[in-house]
Symmetry: C2
Subunit: 339 residues, 2 copies
């Protein structure tokens, strides 16, 4: 156990794209757990696109961080000390904790991770928030059926890669947009997508869709937004459903993004466009995680992780999300079990 703790704080609010000046790595003491709290040593830290919203002062679906505040995110870690938190030293837990070597949290804010379900890192990916986001977004919002064409953007990412596979399990033809030939090969060869589109290789997303989704689009799971989404909307079928999960291509915009108006096209298509947050499905998280774990165990659901090493690499891991550097879930490995 280290004597000292390190934690990342918000150094300043980013204007547009964040960079290393956004983050401040500070040495602190290892905190003591208060009554009902546990001290957790971070094994893995999750970086996710939604965190960009919390760095700005404007309204988002998560409260903004204040400058000087410790950054927070999904963590899997080991309980080092429990002060009546309902866990024991050595337990593996997950929760929304600081970007830090060590952090305390009330026991009620931690959940036990079952190491028998898979590597504990999956509690931040396929068996965690991203997996559940895909699960509910596909099944409750986009609702692809057996004769449907399902399109997903950010398809090689933590959410998109799971969303496409769940749509496949529902019998849909699955088309994914991703940002490199390597990622498209991953979609087609490892995840079983019917077609992948490398958006870095073309500006004519419409033509690419006409080839990959010749019967139009019945269900669309959007993580990205912008011109790719414009092309998909132009190809929605009657009664199409659009699940708006994220819009990562717009998160760093410094002016309000504009684009073709979409409402006129919705009328003739009787299309439904719906934003969703996974947190609204919290009462059903356990059932979703069990189902995802079954699919992983049976081989129906493949996943991949991209891991950077060391807490100090967290800013690079986060910034890389906006450059599409990750395949599957982007994680930061902060400590090893035997350290």
């Amino acid at each position: 156990m280290r004597d000292q703790n390190r934690q990342f704080r918000l150094a300043k609010r980013p204007e547009g794209k964040p960079d290393h000046d956004t983050f401040d790595l500070v040495e602190t003491d290892v905190p003591d757990p208060g009554p009902g709290e546990a001290l957790v040593r971070t094994r893995y830290l999750s970086v996710d696109p939604y965190m960009r919203g919390r760095m700005s002062a404007g309204e988002s679906y998560a409260d903004p961080w204040e400058v000087g505040d410790p950054l927070r995110g999904g963590v899997v870690g080991e309980v080092v000390e429990s002060n009546g938190a309902g866990f024991e030293a050595g337990d593996i837990v997950t929760g929304d904790l600081q970007w830090a070597d060590y952090a305390t949290a009330p026991g009620t804010a931690l959940r036990a991770v079952d190491p028998d379900l898979g590597p504990v890192s999956t509690a931040l990916g396929v068996l965690g928030m991203p997996g559940r986001t895909a699960y509910f977004g596909v099944r409750e919002v986009a609702e692809p059926g057996p004769s449907d064409t399902f399109v997903v953007t950010g398809a090689a990412g933590a959410v998109g890669s799971v969303a496409g596979q769940i749509a496949s399990l529902a019998g849909a033809r699955v088309v994914g947009f991703a940002g490199s030939a390597e990622k498209v090969a991953f979609l087609e060869d490892e995840l079983g997508f019917d077609a992948g589109i490398d958006y870095s290789a073309t500006d004519d997303y419409g033509a690419a869709l006409d080839e990959a989704a010749p019967d139009g689009v019945d269900a669309y799971f959007d993580n990205v937004g912008g011109p790719i989404t414009d092309a998909v909307f132009d190809r929605l079928n009657v009664d199409a459903r659009v699940a708006v999960c994220g819009q990562i291509s717009l998160y760093n915009a410094t002016e309000r993004p504009t684009g073709p108006r979409k409402l006129p096209g919705l009328v003739s298509k009787r299309a439904r466009v719906e934003g969703f947050l996974v947190g609204d499905f919290a009462p059903r998280f356990e059932a979703a995680t069990e189902r995802l774990a079954e699919w992983v165990a049976s081989g129906d659901l493949q996943y991949r992780e991209t891991v950077t090493e060391g807490l100090e690499s967290a800013p690079d891991a986060f910034l890389g999300l906006f450059e599409g550097e990750n395949v599957g879930k982007q994680l930061v490995r902060v400590s090893e079990p035997d350290e």
Copy 2:
């Protein structure tokens, strides 16, 4: 009975805004009804914004008219002659017929109008397609509830005026956008809207909404689109529903309209945006019409008609829709019962 018939044909496809050159008034013989058909003398002709879409070659929710084709629309008329159509001379019927003094139609394409329900013209308005559009759009798509704020655009029009009143009956606070002080007075004083906004008197629709809908917008019924809709979207509450009925402000655009991107805002609000066509609810038309008639009879549902005189006035009546000249349902009176 006139010996001669007149009918309007599509003279040419409009580029942008239609004008009188769009229409051609042609003298023809009064047609003979074929087997199973009726000859109908037009009493009232309905002009509606959706007809703009049929004048263009592009895809819309109704098939485009060909240049030289007779224009068609909702008609209430009197059966002059029935050739096994299942009606008798003197019956009042409604259907999708030509813009003409006389037209034939298969009996199966006509529905009897019950003159006891109200003036027969209401079969084209509050008890017809516009009334049912409002009914299903409010109750099945926008779904305002007792603690909700409901906003409607085109609020003084045939659909909007009914939509707002149905939302009031559901207990919502109702705010309507209309294009003149006179219309706002109509909304507030005659229809019982909680607030009307005269969009011709301000460019700051957001400020007007902040005053009229201080608790944000839970349900939005959009007939208009464009900048007013942008302002409403910025004020949607969590779990808001948007029923996209029409976008009349964009129908005459010659280039694809652009505007602020709306999808990013839908995520945090978990908002649902849904286009709809009244035709999809056809199996339930009769029940809807009965309910609307009950509300009219009880005084819960007020309506107004704007009527131009003579078939030759139909182009003016249609063009006036895009200038907001009508209050309530815009009709053309083509003949009187005793003529």
